[in-house]
Amino acid sequence: MRDLQERLGYLVLAATAVAYFAVYTTSLGRPPGSFDYLAILNTTMPLVLVAVGQSLVVITGGIDLSVGGVVSVCVAVTAATGGTPGWILAVLALGAAAGLVNGVIVAFGRIAPILTTLATLSIYTGAALWILPVPGGSILPGVRAVLSNPGVPTGLAWLALVVAGWWVLRRTRFGMRVYAVGSDETAARAVGVPVERVKAGVYALSGLCSALAGVFYVSTTTAGDANAGAPFILTSIASVVVGGVAFSGGRGSAMGAVAGAVALTLVIDVLFFAGIDPLYQSLFQGLFLVVAVLLGTAAALLARRRTA
């Protein structure tokens, strides 16, 4: 049953994908085409990236609310500078640095993650407004063609890179330490894991993921908005929850969060084609989340009863 909780994300994704296919086909009389798959891929990429970062932090037992601010800052800088490759590298460094600040405060300052990242969230959001006070800016067409080409699924290659990156990361010493810190911090410290450095590293990685998300956001929308990041705070946490990552830390995987992120996007489409009254759309989105969480909790309870 523990397996079930870990695989919750894939199950929910499979269910929403089947539902999407069914609802789309009944509504339009034909299955989804390449335009639909490509649009889903390109609009989901930013959330997928933020969710990967968020899941790493949650696996160590923390939470990162500042992802919204980091995405906003990175969107603002990318759009304001026109998204040249040099500036994109600078943006990635900026995101990692912003995340590192969180990590240092949480790990060495010993301030609760929720407080730290709530504070830095407003700082980063404010900085984004200062850089890009009015929505606008641009991105090089060449960069767009490589990142989120509206005609060719280049996003798939980037998604594959994310999956490969995670696959490598969890097999490194750092990856194992992330789980060790999340499972039992005291025990990890006792066996010589540098807990502070692992935590700082995890928040920096989350910042880097948010920066990548910001670049992808500008690439799909072709412009920037200093308020772009705000919705990612809740949706990234929701993706992690649906993806079966335990908030107590130590369990779950970034791939579950990726599945959760795609599932959350597909729910919007399912509601759309099911013809749900727009006034009740957010109600159904919330219900979906509650059901997913309850399934996860039920699985965890069953697992506990079985081992007891």
Binding site: M1, D3, L4, L11, V12, A14, A15, T16, V18, A19, A22, V23, Y24, T26, S27, L28, P32, G33, F35, D36, A39, I40, N42, T43, T44, P46, L47, A79, L129, P133, V134, P135, G136, G137, P150, T220, T221, T222, A223, G224, D225, N227, A228, A230, P231, T235, T265, I268, D269, V270, F272, F273, A274, G275, I276, P278, L279, Q281, S282, L295
Partner: protein, 360 residues
């Protein structure tokens, strides 16, 4: 051992999903245009009225027979709105009418809609991609007109208070800019206080009540939103009533008409909720090639003095927070709608809707 349980779970979710899908939207009769409204945020009175008049217009002739409408809300989330517009493209709609979550965030998907020959009209919070058409009012002029009215009424001499809106938004910026230009051009006018009422009557009332004790005699008040709240604060403090230039809150107009006392001299201008209906008509006209593609700036519905008509420019049985400018009035009215269109989204009985876009 997990398989049967997993299978059941899977079937359950699938069954739920198919259950909701059992009633696909009815196919439109041939020849009806498909036009969808994609709105972002739906949490305030203005947006609710805007959506209600859109639904009412779609149910009234000539639209009831010519257009098949649908309405979608995305919240203030660009990716949700972007997904919904992608799905509208897949549905093969003829036109999309947008009140955007971000002026720039939908550019990518709007471009894709244009590439497929879909007419995109945005209003209120518009989309800045050049392939789309916009319908809006002139917010700088909003500030100027109200400020000029206040200056004229007080004879170009006296103390003025400015109650502004939500900082960081384009409309607030533009309105304040217009007002300050006029006040600066009149050296006899002194702006004694400037504070934000957040476009909300309750907030405007609270902040004004807090400011009043420290203010000298006030001759004129310029309000970007929440006008009825500001008047209530002046009345509660037993101050002499200054001249008011404000938004189109029904409460403000009740004071102007004298339904609420004390009677107030004022000018009321609004961002009309019927922008959604004007956008619908523009989309229809462009799709049917009756009109060239081109942006449209519509005049404000303006009401001055005490000559208000109940049921047309002021609504005694509607709440103070209601925006009274859901319908235009006068001989040059762009369109005329009834009360139930704005409150319930139901068609006005026995009426044909005539939207005058003017010459391009």
């Amino acid at each position: 051992m997990n398989l049967p349980r997993l299978g059941m779970l899977f079937m359950l979710v699938l069954a739920t999903a198919c259950g909701t899908a059992a009633e696909p939207p009815a196919d439109a009769p041939a020849g009806r245009l498909k036009i969808a409204l994609s709105n972002s945020f739906i949490g305030n009175q203005w947006r609710v009225e805007m959506e209600n008049v859109f639904k009412a217009a779609c149910a009234m002739p000539p639209y009831a027979a010519a257009v098949e409408c649908s309405v979608f809300n995305a919240g203030n989330d660009v990716s949700t709105q972007s997904r919904q517009i992608s799905n509208l493209i897949s549905q093969g709609v003829d036109g999309i009418v947008i009140n955007a979550a971000s002026t720039s965030g939908l550019n990518g998907v709007v471009q894709q809609a244009c590439d497929r020959g879909i007419v995109v009209v945005s209003f209120d919070n518009t989309v800045d991609h050049p392939c789309g058409i916009t319908v809006n009012t002139d917010q700088v002029k909003f500030g100027q007109l109200l400020a000029q009215f206040v200056v004229d009424q007080i004879g170009g001499e006296g103390n003025v208070v400015m109650v502004t809106g939500v900082a960081g938004t384009g409309a607030d910026n533009d309105r304040n800019k217009g007002a300050k230009e006029v006040f600066a051009a009149n050296p006899g006018v002194k702006v004694v206080a400037e504070y934000s009422g957040m476009w909300d009557s309750a907030t405007a009332q609270r902040v004004t009540a807090a400011q009043l004790p420290s203010l000298p005699e006030v001759d004129g008040v310029w309000v970007s939103g929440g006008t009825d709240g500001v008047i209530k604060a002046f009345a509660d403090a037993k101050r002499d009533m200054p001249v008011f230039g404000g938004e189109a809150e029904n409460g403000f107009r009740k004071y102007m008409a004298g339904t609420l006392t004390p009677q107030v001299t004022g000018m009321s201008i609004g961002q009309p909720p019927y922008l959604s209906v004007v956008a619908l008509e523009l989309a229809r006209a462009v799709i049917t090639k009756e009109r060239e593609k081109g942006n449209l700036t519509i005049p404000f519905p303006v009401v001055t003095g005490s000559a208000l008509t109940p049921g047309e420019t002021v609504f005694p049985d509607l709440p103070d927070s209601f925006f009274a400018d859901f319908t235009d009035s006068g001989p040059d009215a762009i369109l005329v709608l009834c009360q139930e269109a704005a409150t319930d989204g139901t068609p006005c009985p026995g009426k044909t809707l005539d939207v005058k876009l003017g010459t391009p």
